[in-house]
């Protein structure tokens, strides 16, 4: 028989989301908590994010990624009820909350949990997923794995790079590579706008004279052993490359920052319903998924711009899991969110009636001076961009439960500048 242990709460993933959720749950009185992390160290992606810009919202001061993670590690240390298991990989989660793990230290272990918090984070979209034609040489890295090789392992991964995708990691890697003496020839972006935070475009590209080609993409990769060059072309309004207007950039490294995908293979095993708009579980105001007793927070739920939001949301999930274990939540009345004009996604997707709920809203396209309507509440938004989260806290009075849903939409904005 498998070695089975009964516990109150299992938190899957020891990144910022899992750490904050575990700490909050312990503070709310949960007795036995197991925090599972597959890497050797806690912190998730933070230890490799050695740049600053973290903590401005949550701690009201500017920290680096490792410093931000360290604050939570200290909190965890103060909570002896939380058992931390690193180098432990979760291989299965069942709908009745059995969590099967493997590790070199303990082999195969099964936890029977009364509640589970999913905090597995996300992964990067690889080359194959965007179907770039050409050869398959060495020297093609996703931005996150390059960042790991550089900042954790201390390796020089190339000498001349082209970066595809202007998401935040792509922008930050442009600066980081430059600082290490690697020549960044260009950052290419398929869309007519950057997907990263505006401050990163300024601080990581403009300050270093790195050209940003908007509405451009890589149309082919060349090179036998190692990347030798990439073919680049502008794209038309339908995002189709205009190959005849293309040009080549010589480089030995192609960095892909073409999107993050919440890692929900385990969630699917557990029977959790996913929202196609976010790639993450459908959650309610308590971050409870569609499976009772299973919660989700952090980038596994939706991709966040800043870790501060992850911490805030995960604390809600941790406290909610504690309340659930005390039998306090369950059977709450909720209303689904309906996405209206220029809304790509809204999290939580289910708003519990009577519960003030901070929303994370993402727009489909950029516009200016729009009005955000959420139920009967509204607020003005000067600049709307798909790269930046729109925040809004729904108040109980914004909602009319007779309507059966909460409509979220942007109205009256100006699209072109």
């Amino acid at each position: 028989m498998l070695n089975t242990k009964a516990v109150d709460l299992v938190v899957v993933g020891g990144g910022p989301a899992g750490m904050a959720a575990a700490v909050a749950a312990a503070e709310a009185g949960v007795e036995e908590i197991v925090l599972l992390e597959r890497q050797a160290k806690l912190g998730g992606i933070l230890p490799q994010c050695i740049h600053n810009g973290f903590g401005l919202r949550y701690f009201k001061e500017e920290l680096t990624g490792p410093e931000y993670a360290y604050r939570f590690m200290l909190e965890l240390k103060k909570k002896p009820r939380i058992q931390v298991k690193t180098e432990t990989m979760v291989v299965t989660i069942t709908p009745d909350r059995q969590v099967v793990t493997t590790s070199a230290a303990e082999g195969l272990v099964c936890y029977q949990a009364r509640a589970v918090i999913l905090a597995m984070g996300c992964r990067e979209r690889p080359r194959g997923a965007i179907n770039i034609p050409g050869t398959r040489p060495a020297g093609i890295y996703t931005a996150g794995s390059l960042q790991y090789l550089l900042n954790i392992e201390g390796f020089l991964p190339g000498r001349t790079a082209v970066i595809l995708g202007s998401g935040d990691i792509g922008l930050i890697m442009a600066r980081r590579l430059t600082l290490e003496g690697i020549r960044v020839r260009a950052v290419l972006e398929l869309m007519p706008y950057s997907n990263g935070l505006n401050r990163n475009v300024v601080q990581c590209l403009e300050d270093f004279n790195i050209p940003l080609y908007l509405s451009h993409t890589v149309t082919a990769i060349h090179g036998q052993g190692r990347v030798e060059k990439v073919s680049v072309a502008p794209v038309d309004a339908d995002l189709q490359p205009l190959v005849e207007k293309g040009f080549d950039l010589a480089c030995d490294t192609l960095v892909l920052s073409v999107g993050l995908i919440p890692e929900n293979e385990l969630s699917l095993q557990a029977g959790v319903e996913l929202d196609p708009a976010t790639g993450g579980p459908v959650v309610d105001s308590f971050y409870q998924t569609t499976v009772e007793g299973i919660f989700a927070c952090g980038n596994v739920a939706h991709v966040h711009d800043v870790v501060d939001d992850v911490s805030a949301e995960s604390a809600i999930a941790g406290r909610a899991a504690a309340a659930y274990l005390r039998g306090e939540i369950g059977g709450n009345r909720w209303l689904p969110v309906k996405a209206g004009r220029n809304i790509r996604s809204v999290v939580p997707q289910r708003i519990v009636v009577g519960q003030a709920t901070p929303l994370y809203i993402r727009a489909r396209f950029p516009e200016k001076n729009a009005q955000l309507n959420v139920g009967h509440g509204h607020s003005k938004r000067r600049i709307v961009s798909p790269g930046e989260t729109i925040y809004y806290t729904v108040k109980p009075e914004d909602i009319c439960s007779q309507e059966g849903f909460v409509r979220v939409g942007l109205e009256g904005g100006k699209v072109d500048d």
Binding site: N3, R123, N131, P133, F155, P157
Partner: protein, 487 residues
Amino acid sequence: MSITEVDVLVIGGGVVGAALIRELSRYELDLVLVEKEVDVSFGTSKANSGIVHSGVHDRPGTLKAQLSVRGCQLFPELAAELDFLYKQNGAVVVARSREELVELEKLVENGRANGVKDLSLISREELRRIEPNLSAELVGGLLAPSGGIVVPFDLVFALTENAVANGAKLMVNTEVLGIKEEKDGFFVRTNHRPIRAKLIVNAAGLYGGEVAAMIGDHSIQLYARKGEEYLFDRKLEGLVQRTVFPLPSKVSKGILVIPTVDGNIMIGPTAHRVEDYDLSTSLAGWNEIFPAARKLVPTLQPTDLITAFSGLRAVGTSGDFIIAPSIISPRFINAAGIESPGLTAAPAIAEYIVELIKDSGLPLARKQKFNPRRTVVRLRDLDPQAQAELMQKDPAYGQIVCRCEMVSAGEIRDAVRRGATTLDGIKLRTRSGMGRCQGGFCTPKIIRLLSNELGLPPEQISKNGPGSELLFGRLRGDRAKEEKQHA
């Protein structure tokens, strides 16, 4: 420089060379298999559709027909002996119109003439019942239950590992550069030490013409026909059970929908003659394959794509395999023009060549102690109980390195001991990096593990051989630190 002296030299570590060396290792012979790449299977044998064809397609009377039907029959037992990834999933050729139904009937006749067993025509309703995700427009099918699927490189690794366990020598990174015929054999020049062999088999794939020319045999004229393939996420597992073929064209079996043994769905291949041996994929290839595959399975989505690759078929001028002693010497046997269904036929090609070797007069005596078995640990295929026991015995199997495919540090170590020296060598032996994240998380870890196990600095670890190194050394700060430590 010392000389390697052997009875038989096999040139080329693709599936043909591998199947042959394994078959020959049943006999009391000194054997060597040489491969110019860093690993076996790095030629055409790693990049193909992985189908064990039933033999319905081939023209009766050809070697292709004879050897693919026989090869297909040999697979179940071979897979049981060597523990490679194979499944007899069956094949279905589908018709889209009444006219095509007539063609299907002809194909049945063709298959029966080749000796393919259990062929049957099925109705539209039956087709929908057994493969509910196929297009509703299809009007009927031809069922070939003997067809199967195999992980092609796994087959090559299994064959060579078993041959080596039975005493054969394997030399990778060894390219044959010149061959001189001597009194009782050949003197073979390579980029390493020379080899003297009594008999040579040329299984050099695309390079079969060049190798034959080394003894003055210019009769082998080959060209390359490229095929692109596109692989989809494992979440589509079960979309089709059988390998789905449209009716064949003159040059190829068409664009297929292939379930892989690992649970992915693959679509392809194209078939176009190319002049250089470059393995790029193209937008044109995708635009040819995807719409064609969607005609068979309309629910396929481009967003589930995880990777693409291409392979080159070595095509001869006769349209058939060329397997015979050279016109120059009876002790130089060519196995050339082994295009599709070469993977299927390989075990039968090996038997066939052994007969040719017997005819050449080289004495063959069966070994007393031939071990036909090879086993390998695949954590993710074990049930939890067996996994737990394995981890108890060896904790390295509990340390998961590749999360998407559930590959442990223990399996990666095993892969190095089985012969992997590169990232691709590890990937093909263990599946690490083949999943949906395509190595994003595990690559740095595998570089470390390879470097430790091989005793090489990380900057010497390559993707697939010299020139494909992954790293350029240490960062400035780290370099300075290390230098200080050494001082």
